[in-house]
């Protein structure tokens, strides 16, 4: 008798496993993600938990930062409530697997849009929310000015980042030798680098600035005045659900468009009631039914701007001149007027190509028609 019971239980267990896998295999159908998010009642976003200014966990357990605002904006578009987000802290190694397995709905974690990730990892990337580039942080007294000066140096790099492979490529291209020092956690890397274990630290300029700014002797260090890679940081979703991809992309477009049209969280209510511009009327849901085409309410864009803000607002709030990162936006030179607006001090995160297209940058939103 006892044996029979064990046998039956084993078979039942086995069937349970089979069904569980069957279900997970069927994720990612058209519109399935948005339906699942609505049914669940909140969005699940994959973010960083320790990138100051960009996305970090505060002592009270909440998340804050430039990237976090995009997750809040998506939640505002769907639920009219930016707080309806559950954040999943991910390392750079885990992030894509978490998205592929369906554990998160959207990945907003300084992920560079590359061909391999787009195709081989079966991901879809939005247009970039920030145009970044890789550089090196070195001690000023080393006298390093250009890449060639780093021949033979020990270079610290975070494992699992595009920086790791870019470093290898640019050094190989110039026939330079170096010793990589790979760390999985940013804390250990900072510790080793600032104690002099490595001569240089390579990462995206934005991250270098953000982390170095929190270090007490920040003035002893400088970012090299060069960029060895293009790093368009973009939000990523899974292949196979174009409706969801469209929504995420148009949330970003809405924030860029609002900046172009000077619609802010402060004046958006006034603009909505007074504007004569037919495109802004469509945008804010006064006329036409653009929201329903995306599967959300027609005042979705209004909700984003009202509750979260436009691109400029969130950029200034977390990375702008009034933050410790202190980015004077006025100093940014448009790329069309002689370069990519790369600033020389480590505190400057150049807004560069992230300027709206009307000011010579590349932030372009398709018309809301």
């Amino acid at each position: 008798m006892k044996m029979k019971k064990t046998g039956i239980m084993l078979i039942a267990l086995c069937m349970m496993f089979a069904t569980a896998f069957e279900i997970s295999a069927q994720a990612a159908k058209h519109g399935a993600t948005l339906d699942a998010v609505k049914k669940r009642g909140y969005l699940i976003a994959g973010v960083n938990s320790s990138n100051a200014g960009w996305s970090y966990l505060k002592p009270d357990g909440t998340y804050e930062g430039f990237e976090v605002e995009f997750a809040r904006a998506i939640a505002a578009a769907i639920f009219n409530d930016p707080a309806k987000v559950q954040y999943r802290p991910l390392t750079s190694k885990e992030r894509f697997a978490a998205l592929q397995s369906g554990e998160i709905d959207v990945l907003i974690r300084t992920a560079t849009h590359t061909l391999t990730r787009d195709t081989d990892l079966s991901l879809n990337f939005t247009t970039p929310y920030f145009y970044d580039g890789q550089s090196f942080l070195v001690r000023k007294d080393l006298g390093v000015k250009k890449l060639e000066d780093l021949d033979g140096a020990t270079i610290a790099v975070l494992t699992g980042s595009t920086g790791e492979i870019t470093l290898s490529d640019v050094m190989a291209a110039k026939g330079l030798k170096y010793k990589p020092l790979l760390f999985e956690s940013l804390d250990e890397l900072k510790n080793a680098f600032f104690s002099g274990r490595a001569d240089a630290w390579t990462s995206d300029k934005s991250s270098l600035a953000a982390t170095a700014a929190t270090y007490p002797n920040a003035s002893d260090y400088m970012t090299l005045d060069m960029t060895v890679s293009k790093e368009p940081l973009a939000m990523a979703v899974r292949h196979g659900d174009d409706d969801w991809y469209d929504l995420v992309q148009w949330v970003l477009n809405a924030m860029i468009f609002a900046e172009e049209k000077d619609i802010t969280s402060v004046n958006v209510s006034k603009v909505k009631s007074s504007t004569k511009d037919p495109e802004i009327q469509s945008f804010l849901g006064v006329k036409n039914q653009l929201g329903s085409l995306l599967g959300v309410s027609n005042d979705w864009a209004y909700n984003i701007i009202k509750k979260v803000g436009n691109y400029e607002e969130i950029f200034n709030k977390h990375l702008g001149p009034k933050t410790i990162f202190n980015i004077p936006r006025g100093l940014s030179q448009p790329w069309t007027k002689g370069g990519l607006m790369y600033s020389k001090t480590i505190f400057n995160i150049p807004r560069g190509l992230s300027q709206p297209w009307t000011k010579g940058g590349l932030m372009y939103s398709p018309p809301f028609k």
């Binding site: 750079s92 020990t154 190989a172 790979l182």
Partner: protein
Amino acid sequence: MIEHTETKPKLGVRSFFQDERTRNLVWQFVFFIVIVLLVFMTMRNVIEALTERGMAPSFKFLSFSSGITIGETIIEFDSRSSNLRALMVGLLNTISISVLVILFSILFGFVVVLCRISSNWIVSHVAKAYIEIIRNIPLLMLLLVWYRAFFLQMPGIRNAIMFHKKVSESGDISASMMLSNRGLHLVWPIPRDSFHIYRFILLGALLVAIAVYIVSRLDYRKTGRKKPGLLWAFLSFVGVAGVGLICMIGNEPFSLQYPVLGKFNARGGLYVSSEWFSLFSGLVLYTSAFVAEALRAGIQGVSKGQMEAARALGLGHLRALRLVVIPQAKIVAIPPLTSIFLGVAKNTSLGVAIGFPDLFSITGTIINQTGRALEMILIVMAIYLSISGLTSIFMNWYNHKVQLVER
């Protein structure tokens, strides 16, 4: 018995299930089928789910150029080498450090246990405190503290602690030893052209050593008197090699390479990075505490009468330990030692936290560059399983051998 088996078939299906042996067989077969089915269905579902997302499992990426650079390699490696070779580099790093950790923790653990069972109160309690403290600290924390608070606090490479510091005419600084937060640079013999002659002398020395060992074994069989055969073999090897070296003065087979301070790092000589050293010493400290406890269990498992009897026969404390207690203690200590050693290879994977490129760290890099997480995880699981399997087989063989000798 014979009667029973002959009459059984006549009783039909009902008695077929009543026979406990057949019933057990049937149940084992059913269980086997269920396991196979479970594994098969899991695999099928994973492959289907991945194929649906356009990521059908494939191992082609292993032959692609890896595009990465690794800081510490035993075999040659550059960014054009394949992912498979990168994996090999990681495997060799893991294995070499594991083997060294095991050897040194046996030695160190033995010293600790001798102190622990010593009749000197202070020595015994210092050893006890060491064991209790180390065993109750998480290994990761031990490694991080060791790395941050000790190795990273060493002076930078410019102000390295140097022995026999020399400054050449061109201003190059060299020394026979440089100690900095980058690690240890040591003067090291490098084979020269004449080494191909010296090779034969070394080979000769090895043959002499083997001969000496065999002779001492034969002598032991004949007379029954034990002599330190291994020691004699070692001494004769050193002797022959040393005489050879003296004969070749003027055309030395080795030249000493001194580490020279470059712009960033020191070049030449033997280099041991602070990451390697942190991981190695941290693991030895940690493992030896467990080894000491396993050995103590073995030693205290031998009845007190054995020691007393040995002392009564006139043996000294250490000789009684060596000749009477330890051979018996070994039998008890080997099974727990096996599981401690199984843990060592797995524990080296914590090297990723302090920047040591072991198998696990390199796997992470390859996953990041190729996105082939499932395939890499499967490979790494298989590798760790094989390492553990081999360790286990070896220890079981040794255990068996020791047991036989006792009977």
